[in-house]
Amino acid sequence: MEVKNVRKSFGQTQVLKGVDLRVDRGDVVAILGPSGSGKTTLLRCLNFLERADEGTLRFDEEEFRLGHMSKRDVARLRKRTAFVFQSYNLFLNKTALQNVTEGLIVGRKMPRDRAEEIGRRALSKVGMADRMNHYPSQLSGGQQQRVAIARAMAVEPEIIYFDEPTSALDPELTGEVLAVMRQLAGEGMTMLVVTHELGFARTVSSQTVFMEHGVVVEAGASREVFEHPREERTRAFLQTDGRAEGKD
């Protein structure tokens, strides 16, 4: 997946000022940056929750113009991707298992038994096998986010977008979600992760992108970015601990 020159304005304010980004198959790319730098907006544009004003998207061998996507292309691409939200957004009227199977049965017309089998396997993988019939309101934040990750995995997406998956969680619950993500990365899942967890970015992601004010300030192999940041801004951000600065 590769995007070039993504631009997006809300009214007068330009939030994305020409962002380029590339994620190869099997890569885990972390996006860091202070609050308000446009990270969420970028992810939302990539999954068409927000319509970018400009920019191109290459997905596999296909090219799309982000400002002029047809509904069919949007629907088709969405079936090849998955999204994990900061606020989980589990379907509140569905159990954990139904949350996972909904996209399979309704979105992809899979027979119920097969979908439930996949759903159970996905939930076991995130350690939620014993909570399959619970409603989101009966689960803790960390549990909800793990179900959300199971929901994302179950559709066998080619890439999963994560928007600060742990920043709504207490520190104790953050760990359980990060562990699941780490495991997913280990299995070769392609992931694009907006995060304030520097530890996760440093140890799990292969690439790190630092964004500020709607532009990519620095991008490269995670080890390079963390150990030898080229830009002064990146260095300052990493030193002041992104957690404190970027939490939103």
């Binding site: 996209g103 309704v106 979105g107 309101s137």
Partner: protein, 230 residues
């Protein structure tokens, strides 16, 4: 024994005699009128609310216009226009269907607002999550957003239903022999307005009480996915 009691309290005989004559039109006219009109109103309300929620061009404006008209004019006027007015332009509708038509359109307008507000109250993330999970807009609305909205809308809609049972008495004015008109007819013969109108009032109260009770059962069923301690 009953005879003796009637002799000393003649009013009681009238009340007992009239009771089935009031209750039966209640069961055969008031309740069917309410049930049919409210079901149609729900269909109209959900459709109008969804069209506005999705901001369908032109259709959304049309819905606003419809709601404006039916909320902005008295129910009684609407009944008269349809039943007494429309025949002037060659549209003749029988009393009962005319009442069904007016009540469903009027109730539909109010309930459309209730349902629309409930749709707006569903967190935007629910719709977004549905789309990201590969559901179409309509699938997401039907399976995720609408069920949650109907949970929110259930108490106010129950309220509207209870109000409607009582409002059907207005259909008496267009010659529908429902509970109230049946009472009027009895009163014309025996002239006991105080007793008879209190009696019919109590039957309405009975109907409303049953509905309130059904509402509580419904709410308990619907709250299955809401967190309750223990």
């Amino acid at each position: 024994m009953l005879e003796r009691l009637y002799e000393s309290v003649p009013l009681l005989e009238i009340l007992v005699d009239s009771f089935p004559k009031i209750l039966i039109p209640g069961l055969t006219v008031t309740i069917p009128l309410t049930a049919i009109a409210f079901s149609l109103a729900m269909v109209i309300a959900v459709a109008a609310a969804m069209i506005q929620f999705a901001r369908v061009p032109a259709a959304a404006q049309l819905c606003r216009f419809y709601i404006w008209i039916f909320r902005g004019t008295p129910l009684l006027v609407q009944l008269f226009v349809v039943f007494f007015g429309l025949p002037k332009v060659g549209v003749r509708i029988e009393p009962f269907p005319a009442a069904v038509l007016v009540f469903s359109l009027n109730e539909g307008a109010y309930c459309a607002e209730t349902v629309r507000a409930a749709l707006e109250a569903v967190p935007a993330g629910q719709l977004e999550a549905g789309r990201c999970a590969g559901l179409s807009y309509l699938q997401t609305m039907r399976r995720i957003v609408l069920p949650q909205a109907m949970r929110t809308a259930f108490p106010p809609l129950s309220n509207s239903l209870i109000a409607m049972v009582k409002d059907t008495s207005l259909a008496a004015n267009i010659t529908v022999v429902e509970m109230f008109r049946a009472t009027e007819q009895i009163d014309a013969r025996v002239y006991q307005p105080l007793a008879l109108y209190i009696e019919v009032g109590l039957v309405y109260l009975l109907f409303s009480t049953v509905l309130t009770w059904l509402q509580h059962i419904g709410e308990r069923k619907l709250s299955a996915y809401e967190y309750r301690e223990g």
